[in-house]
């Protein structure tokens, strides 16, 4: 478990998200925005395990998210809407894709890894677009949200909000635990020097592959939630632009600690929305803001408190 000092900021963050519906953010529109940020946060946490932990920069993470979402679609078309089936299908479907593609990808690193994950994701993207049964390029509208034990709990905005929050907190705790464990130590060591780790008797490949599969499962879960949040799934879920967004969340949030991924997801989703209201040309402002953040926030958003303390002392 993370030490209390390190956990203070993420716990405060989760408390704020928990209080949000009661402190003036209870509108449906705001809640759906927060849900979207939390869901992408779950996927970003998995990506943090890869980028921040194993040093594997994936540019295909959205494919795993999309596969999780399409698992909901496939079952929905077959009239299966029970969460007991849908959620495991999303997680296992994405994890299986991660296992098959990761078996090739994790043997490489650096630019090669980026290109291979991108290539596999593009394959999945085009396959999703060609599935005319599920709407092809136009996407697929769900009949309704996933049921839990036969009841439509998830239709309730508050229930959905707290479900996303609980899963986000769980994902955060899982990634923190994995990174601190023996398994995570080998991952982190192999990121710093793979040859040294091999000279100690570790083969980094199975450790990296398992991390990739776990991150895949988390993205699959996020995909199932995202499909429910929008009640609509399209191939754009798997697009490489979304993979880029996820990567940006992780880096903007900071690679030093898992809650960076959560901060990054919240910042990206909320900033995008806020700027979008302000002007139609919001991307012109968004881009430079991100560049400034990367240049001046050394430890990302998660490192901001330490950076401010340092500046105060200096």
């Amino acid at each position: 478990m993370p030490r209390w000092r390190e956990a203070a900021l993420p716990l405060l963050l989760f408390a704020l998200l928990g209080a949000a519906p009661w402190i003036g953010f209870g509108e449906g529109y705001v809640l759906s925005l927060l849900a979207r940020a939390m869901i992408l946060g779950i996927a970003a946490l998995g990506l943090h395990l890869l980028v921040g932990g194993a040093g594997l920069v994936s540019l295909g993470h959205a494919a795993l998210l999309g596969i999780g979402a399409y698992a909901v679609v496939v079952l929905d078309a077959a009239r299966v809407t029970e969460a007991v089936w849908v959620v495991p299908a999303s997680i296992l479907g994405a994890a299986l894709f991660a296992l098959l593609t990761g078996a090739v990808a994790v043997r490489t690193s650096g630019v090669q890894f980026i290109m291979i994950t991108l290539a596999f994701a593009q394959m999945a993207f085009f396959i999703a677009g060609s599935l005319s049964v599920y709407g092809g390029d136009d996407g697929y509208t769900l009949y309704g949200r996933t049921e839990l034990f036969g009841r439509r709990w998830l239709e309730d905005r508050l229930v959905f909000h707290y479900l996303c929050l609980a899963l986000l907190a769980g994902a955060w705790a899982l990634v923190g635990m994995l990174l601190a464990s023996r398994f995570g130590r080998v991952l982190r060591a192999a990121r710093e020097n793979a040859l040294r780790v091999a000279a100690l008797g570790f083969n980094p490949v199975p450790y990296r592959l398992l991390a990739y599969v776990i991150a895949g499962g988390m993205a699959g879960l996020a995909g199932a939630l995202l499909a429910n949040a929008t009640e609509f799934v399209a191939p754009s879920y798997l697009a490489w632009q979304r993979s880029g967004d996820l990567l940006f969340m992780v880096i903007l949030g900071g690679l030093g600690a898992p809650h960076g991924a959560v901060l990054g997801a919240l910042a990206m989703v909320l900033l995008e929305e806020w700027l979008g209201h302000w002007t139609a040309h919001w991307r012109l402002i968004f881009g430079p803001l991100l560049i400034l953040a990367v240049l001046f926030l050394k430890g990302g958003l998660a490192g901001l408190p330490a950076q401010l303390r340092g500046a105060g002392r200096g």
């Binding site: 020097n193 000279a199 450790y207």
Partner: protein, 259 residues
Amino acid sequence: MADLPPARPGAGTPILALEGLRKRFGGLTVTDDVSLAVAPRGIHAVIGPNGAGKTTLIHQISGTLRPDAGRIRFAGREITHLPLHRRARLGLARSFQITAVLPGFSALENVALAVQAGAGSSFRFFRPAAGEARLNEPAMAALEQVGLAARAAVKAGALSHGEKRQLELAIALALRPKLLLLDEPLAGAGPEETERLIALLGRLKADYAILLVEHDMQAVFALADAVSVLVYGRLIASGAPAAIRADPAVRAAYLGEDA
């Protein structure tokens, strides 16, 4: 093997035996029919002028390079075709010529990772590894052995060059290896650090088999129980330090340069 005397007579079967090892890079033969036996205790030094193929030889023994021909036997089994990490598992620990400690890990965590390699499965996901006494205690003992205990909490990237050398040794020791491959452990160390490291190696050789590649001739002749001389990839002599020092071929080919 019959044409080579055992490295130290009466020391038992060799822990490491190279038989007719060959390696070519294009037209250049860097390892030319090298046969060598390393005793299970003591320091066996490999010396030779620059470009003699010493590091290439270490790479083939540790498994980062494959020989074109010949066999490598280690602890009673052939390891010629095993990858690096499998050889490490069998008890073959190496230090790197250019230090390869993990800069972002503390000194203690660097060594604890090595302990972890020999302490059961590393596919454990729940307990924080940093709190495991089973890993930290042997790691601390290895740090004490090399005289680095006071710097345990310091990030390895912030250690001095000599301290990184000591840390390399602590990492190798924590693997409880059957053979230590040390590739120029004194390279770049200051005079005081060199003295400390020589004293340390002198202590270690009572308990370990060490294959030492080193340029510092004073250190080699002060420490080694056996010396092999490599010139242009060929082993021109192998034997006790005194015999090597007196060998005319060695003097001509190598020691003559500066002795």
